[in-house]
Amino acid sequence: MSQAVAPVRHVLITGNKSYHNITEDLCVPTEKSPTREWIIAFALSAAFLGLYVFAICWTVWKGIGEWGANRTINWAWDITNFVWWIGIGHAGTLISAILLLFRQRWRTGVNRAAEAMTIFAVICAGQFPIFHMGRVWLAFFIFPFPNTRGPLWTNFNSPLLWDVFAISTYFSVSLLFWYTGLVPDLATVRDRASGFRRKMYEFFSFGWTGSAKHWQRWEALSLVLAGISTPLVLSVHTIVSFDFATSVIPGWHTTIFPPYFVAGAVFSGFAMVQTLMVITRKVLKLEDYITINHIESMNKVIVLTGTIVGVAYLTELFIAWYSGYIYEQFAFYNRVFGIYWWSYFGMMFCNVVSPQLFWSRNIRRSIWWTFFLSIVVNIGMWFERFVIIATTLARDYLPSSWSYYRPTWVEISIFTGTMGLFFTLYLIFTRVAPVVAIAEVKSILKVAGDQYIGPDAKHDGHGASHGKSTEKKEAEH
């Protein structure tokens, strides 16, 4: 994607890379035999995935009664996990689409992995609304399809139905966006491959040749998809927040939810990107592409969004007090000091207090701090959803129905199992596709023409296609 850029920019890729170096660095992980670390990680993830499959089968076979939810707290870990995963799935699109609009070119180093993470997170999220249904075998009822039952339509007033549309749209657009970005890179891998692998990549790269026409169409499509994705980043979590905001339950019924959920989603999404990037860049030796500057930029987003959610938490408390509405007041009093007080304080500490450390430049640029805090933030965001869902339901209008919730092994297995699902997919992804967008990274290689000192220092091409043809020649030699 060539755009008008300032002639002098910060160095986004370190290590004096040439176009060829980039291709080598990024394609090699898909070509080598897996490392021992990868195999161990994969085996572990697959084991958790197995646990997930087992726990889901158990749930479907036996019933939702295997969970700890009850007549008062009908949603608990299921929807908590759903919202959590959906939130995580926000970073990819944000990086791809919104940062694109804001011309944040550093995003090219992380957008591929972040988008992949988005897709996998949405896959994980999607498991919960499906499998929390009492009769999952009738899940197709939620689609408005022509039928002979009247016809009987879905209820377009229901936020759960909006969820179905929001999430499926988000998933398909994200998938398309991600895959579109992948096509030139898959072609690069194809060009380096032989035999069956070559055939496979040939199929998946749609016969990409790198012709000008291809690039032109590719860029147009990318732009269109970026345009579609941009509102989706805001809409998906807004609609997820409607699951709560449109209810009558005090603590759910608040107009602040849409922006608060979106900020929280970006917050948790970036934290998850950090967690993954820190590991990926180390394991795949991509420190030159995902530099400490990237990490710092994302930490800045984290401290911003973390502060936004902090403000939201305090606003909620203020409004509850200011409203003079006893149910609302009680709901928030209960959140802070009630039976689940520990989850509220966990949330406050992890989401509001801990990211403030990123005001310090040293911490912002520290790999270890970043990794640690990104995990803390994700724990905090999980608590946030738990606080909103379980704590609120546990103490609603009629004290006679108040109840307490504890998860069972099935719910714990499902949650940890979705992590297995997520990492299994992510690890497979690192093996089959370049984790950094080769074509896009090449477009930002040059900081300024005179600074480029690589072996192929000619200013005669446009990014990847040129690089590729050069590589091809080199390979032929």
């Binding site: 019933g63 939702i64 009492g134 209008y397 006679s400």
Partner: protein
């Protein structure tokens, strides 16, 4: 094939080629495999066809839930049975001394529901939870199915004739025979018994009641010369004082009393007259929880409290002294009583003769005898006398009893002397049981002659003098059982029994009515007409001429013969629960899963401990114990392991536990709770339901499945010292609870103030609700039918009859203790219980809570698949088939009345995946609902819900439909009586009224209007627009009582 008509189909035809003719010959032939040279070739089209069909067939087969159909048509249809139309038969519920006149609803020949019989002069159409649940025990899989010898815990089948021969030969020896029974209220059964005694003159009947009132009967004999329970007229009493008698819940005739009690407590917006009820007791009973004033004493102080009142009224002194606080209160009670001479009533649940005599004297002083204490209509509901037991045990031990017949009683378990009884019983050579299940006593017998269930029997009952009612069978006997009365007549070689008749006991009963009761009346000229009318009505009232005459007090009061206060630091009381009684109802899952009204626990009995407070911000259990902790209790040397439940209103220094837990054999009550019977003591032959010799250990463990349906108990309790300071008033806990629009309550004298407050509340709610952006839906429901309900919280006593009726009517699943412990109970109607007021002696309000059928229902708009929708008649409907179980509706219900089928509770799934989790009766192979016998109780008008769907109160939509059809058939508008919900008909006090809100003449409209100033909707201000109104709770508290 000649084409005469000149039409040809092809050139081959036209040319009449050989090959064509051949093929035309066999136009529809299918080629055999051998004709194709042994090859079966499939072409592409066939393949696709088969593939398509195969896929289609597999899809259809896999996706359709194939119902199991076992419908067999009548070969000859009985006249009175129309499939799909219910028949009602008047009958009676009788269990020992418990009585209720009922109508039995049958569908296609099987009884499925009990309704009250409004013609009854005793119960007046009210029912109890026990009566409601009795239909389930008909289909108890544990019933003994044939007569035989009992050995090794089972019955070896014998033919009845063989059994008769064997038993008659044993009886013929002429040895002493003892019949052990509970109260027998049937005149005809007594006649049969008389014939048996005449034949075997060495026979004696030993009768006792599982929970005894023997001292009351004995005291009445001493005071009035009549060994009966008088009629207590709670409706005629302006001041009621009860010394521990739980007359609304369990004491003698609670349905009758509750009905009368509520009559004098109907408060409208204009105020009104209301009796004042004082309860002196040592644990929170159902009656105490409804009382206007409660005086808490230790159990051993009961005698002293009665003496205190007596001294106050008689102007005497002497006898033991009750505590100062109680004494001061009793002084004020006495003043109130004095002002209500002849219009007051003092009752006592004590099982001490001297105490009961003093109570009689008190009533005598107050001029209540023959006004509120009526001996002209004595009750026969408690005739047992446990004093006879010690004699029986001695006789049996001495080998002086040859034959023992056990008739309905369960002496091997339900008595303090059960251990002695068992040892002695073993020495009786011939032991025969008429009991219907292999209970603790039947297991010890050597013959079982199982009686019918009442719904298979003929019989009559005289619960009160002059009030008779009939029992008629509503189904042919399910098993090879025989009525106990018939067995007795058979063994007595009765000459009055027509053995050739299909139903000999029916003839016997009928001829008794013809010869006895028919003679005493003049309304009917023939015995047949008299019988038909009596059977039709189910009840018959004797003309007054036959009745006993009024009584006069002629006893001697001995204030020193009462129980002396023990002075012990800790005392325990034992009480009967509304649901499982003294344990005789413990094998009924509906009753086991009905929460105890006061402590809200299910499946077992729990030790109630008092709560303590620092008066500021803490409410703790006594000794720091928490709900569900287990403790060791040592009572009279007997060690019991109990699970603790904290209970407001339990006096300090006392604990209490219900009877009836820990059954040892015979059904689902086994393994739940603790058997406390061995810990009871016997004084002067009377069982005492308290003890001063009790020790409670510290926590020894935790009941993992502590099953209590209500987690939070109070709506604002304050310390005794400061009525304005809510405990735990961190403003938003108790503080905000008192402000919630769930319950409105006041004292009668402050009624005006409350009404003003409510006007303000309605205005505020209206203001908030008018802020909505959406157009009002009220107009939609202004025409046609609009169903609504009114619940009078002043009449509701929390007895739970409605809840069991709802379970029965709507096939609500029973989930068992473990699932209730996980808050998975399925009841559509629950009775919320809240404490308020003084933390040490709180008041209680019960609130039946069912789907409120909101016109702006929050559940409806959140369902993604429109499985729950609003009908044009204002009913919030559930389409189970459409529900996919997202449970958002349940989350969004402000009243939390929606119930999710978490597991396969009804065993409606095709695969038996959940069987170990869903409710099993201990020892049964199949889950409770999987048995076809149990399933016979299901109401065919109501879908049995499968796992994964939400269900909830439907306003008995099947009854609405039935009512509409009736009206339509009769070509008229629908009226109130066409539709009455199950909870409404079950209620003994008429607290629930249902009907069409658009009909100004409907009862529900009238009642709501009468009480308009008190009526409110729960959570009115959240604009969900419920169809159920409640009335504010008004008590008639004597505020001076403790000041």
């Amino acid at each position: 094939m000649h084409h005469d008509n000149g039409i040809w189909v092809s050139t081959e035809d036209l040319m009449r080629e050989e090959s064509f003719l051949q093929s035309a010959e066999k136009e529809f032939a299918i080629e055999n495999i051998d004709q194709t040279d042994g090859k079966w070739e499939t072409n592409r089209r066939d393949f696709l066809k088969l593939l398509g069909f195969g896929l289609g067939a597999a899809t259809v087969a896999a996706s359709c839930q194939i119902p199991v159909k076992k419908a067999i048509p009548y070969v000859t249809k009985p006249d009175e049975i129309v499939p799909g139309v219910a028949n009602y038969f008047a009958s009676s519920f009788v269990h020992g001394g418990d009585y209720c006149a009922v109508l039995v609803k049958t569908r296609e020949g099987r009884p499925i529901k009990i309704e009250g019989n409004t013609l009854s002069g005793v119960t007046g159409g009210g029912t109890s939870a026990r009566a409601q649940a009795s239909v389930l025990s008909l289909y108890d899989t544990r019933r003994i199915q044939f007569a035989g010898k009992v050995s090794d815990g089972s019955v070896e089948k014998m033919e009845w004739a063989a059994l008769d021969r064997e038993i008659k030969s044993k009886l013929a020896a002429g040895g002493p025979v003892r019949i052990i029974a509970n109260t027998i209220m049937s005149p005809t059964a007594k006649l049969a018994l008389g014939e048996f005694v005449a034949k075997y003159p060495n026979t004696q009947v030993v009768s006792y009641d599982p929970v005894s009132s023997a001292a009351l009967v004995e005291a009445n004999k001493q005071s009035f010369g009549a060994a009966v329970v008088p009629s207590f007229k709670f409706d005629a009493a302006d001041v009621i004082v009860s010394f521990g008698a739980d007359f609304l819940g369990t004491w003698i005739s609670p349905v009758e009393y509750a009905r009368a009690y509520a009559k004098n407590r109907k408060i409208t917006g204009k105020g009104g007259k209301m009796s004042r009820h004082y309860q002196v007791e040592s644990h929170m009973s159902l009656t105490g929880s409804n009382a206007d004033n409660r005086v808490m004493i230790k159990p051993s102080e009961m005698g002293a409290a009665i003496v205190a009142l007596y001294n106050e009224l008689a102007g005497t002194s002497g006898g033991p002294k009750v505590g100062d606080k109680a004494a001061a209160a009793i002084k004020k009670i006495a003043a109130d009583l004095r002002n209500a001479r002849g219009k007051s009533l003092v009752v006592s649940g004590s099982n001490n003769v001297a105490e009961q005599v003093i109570v009689n004297k008190i009533n005598d002083i107050l001029g209540n005898i023959n006004t509120t204490v009526d001996f002209t209509r004595p009750s026969y509901q408690r005739q047992g006398d446990e004093r006879a037991l010690s004699g029986l045990i001695a006789e049996m031990n001495a080998g002086r009893v040859q034959v023992a017949l056990v008739w309905g009683a369960n002496p091997a378990w339900e008595l303090p002397q059960s251990a002695d009884f068992k040892a002695a019983f073993a020495k009786v050579p011939v032991r025969v049981s008429f009991n219907t299940v292999l209970d603790e006593t039947t297991l010890l017998c050597n013959y079982s002659a199982p009686a019918h269930h009442q719904l298979e029997s003929w019989g009559d009952v005289e619960p009160k003098a002059g009030y008779l009612s009939l029992i008629q069978p509503t189904i042919a006997p399910l098993f090879e059982t025989r009525q106990a009365e018939l067995s007795l007549l058979e063994w007595a070689d009765s000459a009055n029994l027509n053995r050739q008749d299909e139903q000999p006991y029916y003839q016997y009963l009928k001829s008794h009515w013809a010869s006895d009761l028919f003679q005493g009346q003049s309304k009917y000229s023939t015995p047949a007409a008299f019988w038909d009318m009596s059977l039709h009505d189910g009840v018959y009232e004797k003309p007054a001429a036959d009745l006993p005459s009024a009584a006069a007090f002629a006893g001697t009061v001995d204030v020193n013969a009462v129980t002396k206060p023990s002075g012990a630091e800790l005392e325990i009381s034992f009480y009967e629960t509304v649901n499982i009684g003294g344990g005789q109802y413990a094998h009924n899952p509906w009753l086991q899963e009905m929460p105890d009204p006061v402590n809200r626990t299910v499946w077992g009995n729990y030790l109630n401990i008092p709560v303590e407070s620092n008066g500021k911000d803490k409410i703790n259990g006594w000794k720091g114990l928490e709900d569900g902790d287990q403790v060791e209790v040592e009572v009279n040397g007997q060690k019991l392991t109990c699970t603790v439940v904290r209970n407001f209103g339990q006096p300090q220094g006392t604990v209490s536990i219900a009877l009836g837990g820990g059954r040892e054999a015979g059904g689902c009550g086994v393994t739940y709770g603790t058997n406390v019977n061995p810990a009871l003591k016997v004084e002067n032959g009377f069982i005492q339901y308290y003890s001063s010799d009790v020790k409670v250990s510290d926590k020894t463990g935790v009941d993992k499945h502590f099953a209590c349906v209500q987690h939070h108990h109070t709506l604002g309790v304050h310390s005794s010292a400061d009525a304005n300071h809510n405990i735990d008033e961190a403003e938003y806990f108790q503080g905000s609870l008192t402000k919630r629009s769930i319950i409105f309550q006041t004292n009668l004298k402050d009624l005006q103030e409350l009404e003003e407050k409510m006007v303000e509340f309605h205005e505020e709610a209206e203001h908030l609700n008018s802020q909505t952006l959406y157009p009002s839906t009220d107009e939609w429901f202004k025409t046609g039918l609009k169903w609504g309900m009114y619940v009078d919280l002043n009449s509701c006593i929390g007895c739970g009859a409605c809840q069991v009726a709802c379970v029965s009517e709507n096939n609500t699943p029973i989930v068992g203790k473990k699932e209730v412990a996980r808050h998975h109970e399925m009841t559509w109607l629950r009775i919320d219980r809240y404490f308020y007021g003084d933390i040490e002696n709180p008041k209680v309000v019960y609130q039946p809570m069912m789907c409120q059928h909101c016109d702006n229902a929050p559940c409806e708009n959140v369902c993604p698949v429109s499985a729950t929708t609003h009908s044009m008649e204002g009913i919030n409907q559930m389409a189970y088939n459409r529900c996919i179980g997202t449970r958002y509706c349940a989350n969004n219900c402000p009243y939390k009345v929606r119930r999710f089928n978490w597991l396969d509770y009804t065993t409606a799934d095709v695969w038996p995946a959940n069987e170990e989790r869903v409710f099993h009766v201990e020892g049964d192979e199949k889950p409770f609902y999987a048995d076809n016998l149990t399933r016979m109780v299901l109401n065919p008008d109501v879908t049995v819900r499968s796992r994964g769907v939400i269900e909830k109160c439907s306003f008995c939509v099947q009854r609405i439909q039935e009512g509409k059809l009736t009206a339509k058939r009769e070509g008229r508008a629908i009226m109130d009586n066409d539709v009455r919900t199950a909870c409404q008909t079950a209620c003994p006090t008429g607290a629930i009224v249902f009907g069409n809100l658009n009909n100004p003449e409907s009862e529900v409209n009238k009642k709501t209007k009468e009480a308009a100033e008190l009526a409110y909707k729960v959570l009115e201000e959240i604009n969900v627009r419920p169809a159920v109104s409640y009335s504010a709770k008004v008590t008639n508290t004597n505020e001076e009582l403790f000041s």
